[in-house]
Symmetry: C2
Subunit: 180 residues, 2 copies
Amino acid sequence: MKKSIAIDMDGVMADIEQYIVDWYNKEAGTTITRDEIQGMEDHGLFPDKELLLKILNTEGFFRNLPVMDGAVEVVKALMEEYEVYVVSAAMEFPLSLFEKKEWLAEHFPFINWKNIIFCGDKSIIDTDYMIDDHIKNLDFCKGKPLMFTAYHNVNLTHHKRINHWNEVSGLLKEFEEAAE
Amino acid sequence: MKKSIAIDMDGVMADIEQYIVDWYNKEAGTTITRDEIQGMEDHGLFPDKELLLKILNTEGFFRNLPVMDGAVEVVKALMEEYEVYVVSAAMEFPLSLFEKKEWLAEHFPFINWKNIIFCGDKSIIDTDYMIDDHIKNLDFCKGKPLMFTAYHNVNLTHHKRINHWNEVSGLLKEFEEAAE
């Protein structure tokens, strides 16, 4: 049986970082840069919390996210060796549910609907590997965690780090070899 | 730590059986009864498959499902002793995603969004118990399966059966005592 991988959307398959900074600046009239937010906590990021929630609940926000560089090619390649599941914490923003499904259909049409999971927390997800940017998911995951670099985790060192999709296959091979 | 339960929506929390028979009859001009479909396979149920798909993709279909008798009270009571997750195979019908979320907010407002999972297949869901009507989910679930009675499973005997929500607490106690 193929080993399974849970792959997160925002910050992993979807390149949300510059996108949300730009959107926030436009709405708030600020000039926050991507460099400035490196190392910041997820919820300490933007001063106007209400505006942030408004943005995340705006129609089209999740539908128009750019794809992370390399994600399409590498996910497609991984599917030959692994059972790949998309596992996204979409439940907090109900409008995002349909948009995320549409986004996947556009950019990752080769992923079957059976392998897509929209959840709240990820604590009952059981896969051999989990690729995610949030330690709240990685710290407690049942499989082996791989931390995708994001502004909020740049200073953390307790998980194997992925800086770019092209590193994923190598890291998975390392895990496989260590397990043999 | 509380033990966890995954609870299915359609046919378990939501009383879909009479509802879909009525809807189909209205559209097709047939007179299929709930009694007639007992013991039938899930996909052998209605002669016009295309019409069935059209119904399942109709706006409002999932939003207006009636609640299964006893579900609200028992789920609320279970949450005192268990970590309850709603796990619904909603991904096949993208329109249902938002409607199911709204339906839960209306009828089960006490269930936190963190505990809601919309998925395709349920093979990577890991909870101590699973309450579901489909053996495709129960046969391979990682926890202990409880089969909620539905037309398509009335002749099956290989899982503990629930005929009504008021039987659930007793069945869970049986499992707990057997495990001691």
